[in-house]
Symmetry: none
Subunit: 385 residues, 2 copies
DNA sequence: TTTCACTATGAATCTTCCG
DNA sequence: GCGGAAGATTCATAGTGAA
């Protein structure tokens, strides 16, 4: 990979080009860190070229005084110049500028993640709504080990907020690995509150003195959940506030490409070294989990033609309350009405709609077999062919 | 108590006057519901007269189509006129107007609570910062039983956000019952993420048909934690969007005074009847109650994220007859099939179901460790969850 | 009385393909 | 772009009534 100063870049070796764009004159150079101004760097990228954006912008913390713990040790606060803004207006102008620039380089169905705290997240959320983004979720990162409130004047600030947004309200084709997330969560839908520890220990980058290298390094587990939920292997992930490269490290590990932008050369160099040391997971470990929506369509007629169901046979609902007759053209008949497995299922129940695949069953050796199982068998033979 | 139409009010009998103001000519009439326009009613109140504000404004949900559950039943959505705004600008103007009016009637050290969802909370948060309020915390209400995402297109929207703000950055003398909250929370600081069930069952007000009377009635447990943390007995609590009077009911129960504003006479009448029926707690009983929960659910993904199990590692059953590969998204892979620890455990054994937590083991120093043990260790770190 | 089966419902910005 | 059809999709609680 590489680093670019305005506009110089360093590329990580041994990485492949992004899908289908390498031949373009203005092709996006991936697995690269751009060193320089965030907005100028974004504007140098091709339009509609990235699949996902993760942004961890300055929080504008507005800290006034030093803070000590009850044992009088000093809390190492975020007091960097990059986190200081003259006013809310200045912060808002900065926010709108980078959000606007980022939106231009997002593909039609790309999505954006932004992380923030109560200091800045309301400004960011309002700005992105104003810019035309469409909020899909706000996600709460519940910290396993937050810093306590040493003065006892407020609730322990134990979470940060991520906003997940599409490019617009009409962009319905965004990536979301619903089934994989559910499978990794005890077969329950993944909720909007995530419980993840802070980035500490060996994962936290240190300088020569053993002090933390970056004040707000995010845990890789957080980025992994973001990338696994809303991107595919081979996708390009843009991080306009790259810092020490957590997004890049996780992207490489999970088989995604990244484009990082970082204005501090020291952070960029640390990120490069960190990412170079990352070993990607094996392809079969990161292959997308099966997605029911991606399965090939199988007409019910194919089930009949394959002999799994005979023309003239009766199909029965799971509770044996309704039945219909299979016709040789792959429709069902019920009381003289003929229609698709879905239409007749809906008719039988008096409902506006019905998934016939899971509603109808066939009698096999005195027990009921759902016809969706026959579809799975037909699909298995399609894959083999 | 009483209800006032512009400006008529109903007062609850048997209530005491607020501390130290009953002798003023423009004294605040407490334990009263004002029926009428929110902003006009706030402007009719004396300046610097309330100790706490709780506001549950319209969320501006922007729902377009009907939504059905997988069983085809219709979701009873919030489609009331009061939640419809022409644009973000219209919503922002409304928000700034009530925030400005409310700030005038707040005492110097009063604080404000506002609840919202991602649809509106960024607008509200930005507006209150712009009006000079100083954010103290954002609080996440984690819902025990949220409505699922029926289309599988997003994360379950399982929380709402509350913003807690002081009148200004210099108002340091606000009420916060740090020790009471800590004592009611296993002697740990109360965190910014609260786990509370929805308002259902007997607590939910119903109309003559048995349908919910108000679409967005909040749970009393949520209001109780708000009032217990940031107000004192005898304080005056203003709620400019009173609805069916949850704030009033909890205030009366906890020995606080309330001022409610509600533009719908039907809601106001229901609120009055509800509050009249409330029996105040004895003074010694007014203390925060811990809500002990059952064991928190831990997704297998968290075990992977915590490093107890590595992506790519093999899990083995207790008799070493079956094995599967761990994927980074918290699913398992066996012979090309990907699914949850439970699904793959069942598949390996040819059974309809399986408890993956007790079935799968990891090899550690040549002996097998059941993955349920890792779950116990993760739970131990969750502490206050 | 207890248990079980079945139904109802909650602040929700909730589809995709083909002709 | 539009209309119609295919077809994918739910978790925690409460309540009711039968066994």
């Amino acid at each position: 990979m590489g680093i670019s100063h305005p506009t110089k870049s360093i590329a990580v070796p041994g990485r492949v080009a992004p899908r289908g764009r390498a031949d373009l004159a203005d092709a996006l150079a991936v697995d690269t860190i751009h060193v320089g101004d965030c907005i100028a760097a974004i504007e140098s990228l091709p339009a509609e070229s990235v699949d996902l954006v993760f942004a961890d912008p300055p929080y504008n913390l507005q800290l006034e005084n030093a803070l000590t713990r009850p044992d009088q040790s000093l809390v190492d606060a975020v007091d960097d110049d990059w986190d200081k803004f003259a006013s809310f207006d200045a912060y808002d102008a900065f926010t709108r500028a980078w959000l606007k620039a980022v939106r231009r380089v997002m593909k039609k169905n790309a999505t954006l993640w932004v992380i923030g705290s109560y200091h800045n997240v309301f400004r960011v959320g309002s700005a992105l709504q104003d810019e035309g983004y469409w909020v899909l979720n706000d996600i709460v990162w519940r910290k396993a080990n937050p810093m306590p409130n040493f003065r006892g004047k407020r609730f322990t600030n134990a979470h940060e907020t991520l906003i997940w947004a599409a490019k617009g309200a009409d962009a319905k084709g965004y990536t979301f690995h619903y089934d994989a997330l559910k499978g990794g969560n005890d077969d329950l839908q993944m909720r909007s509150d995530w419980f993840i520890p802070l980035c500490t220990g060996g994962e936290r980058l240190k300088d020569a003195n053993g002090d933390k290298l970056h004040p707000t390094q995010k845990p890789e587990a957080l980025l992994a959940r973001v990338l696994l939920s809303s991107s595919n292997p081979g996708d390009v992930v843009l991080d306009p506030f790259f810092g020490t490269g957590t997004t890049g490290a996780v992207a490489k590990k999970l088989g995604r490409h990244f484009v990082g932008i970082e204005r501090d050369p020291g952070y960029a160099a640390a990120a490069k070294a960190r990412i170079d040391a990352v070993e990607p997971l094996s392809p079969d470990a990161i292959a997308p989990a099966p997605d029911k929506r991606a399965e090939p369509r199988v007409p019910f007629l194919s089930i009949v033609e394959s002999g799994f169901v005979r023309p003239g046979e009766r199909l029965i609902c799971g509770r044996r309350r309704h039945e219909a007759v299979v016709r040789p053209d792959g429709t069902l008949s019920l009381g003289g009405i003929v229609g698709s497995i879905h239409k007749i299922g809906a008719l039988a129940q008096g409902l506006p709609a019905c998934n016939g695949w899971t509603f109808w069953h066939a009698e096999r050796e005195r027990s009921l077999v759902v016809i969706d199982q026959f579809r799975a068998q037909v699909r298995a033979t399609m894959g083999a062919a």
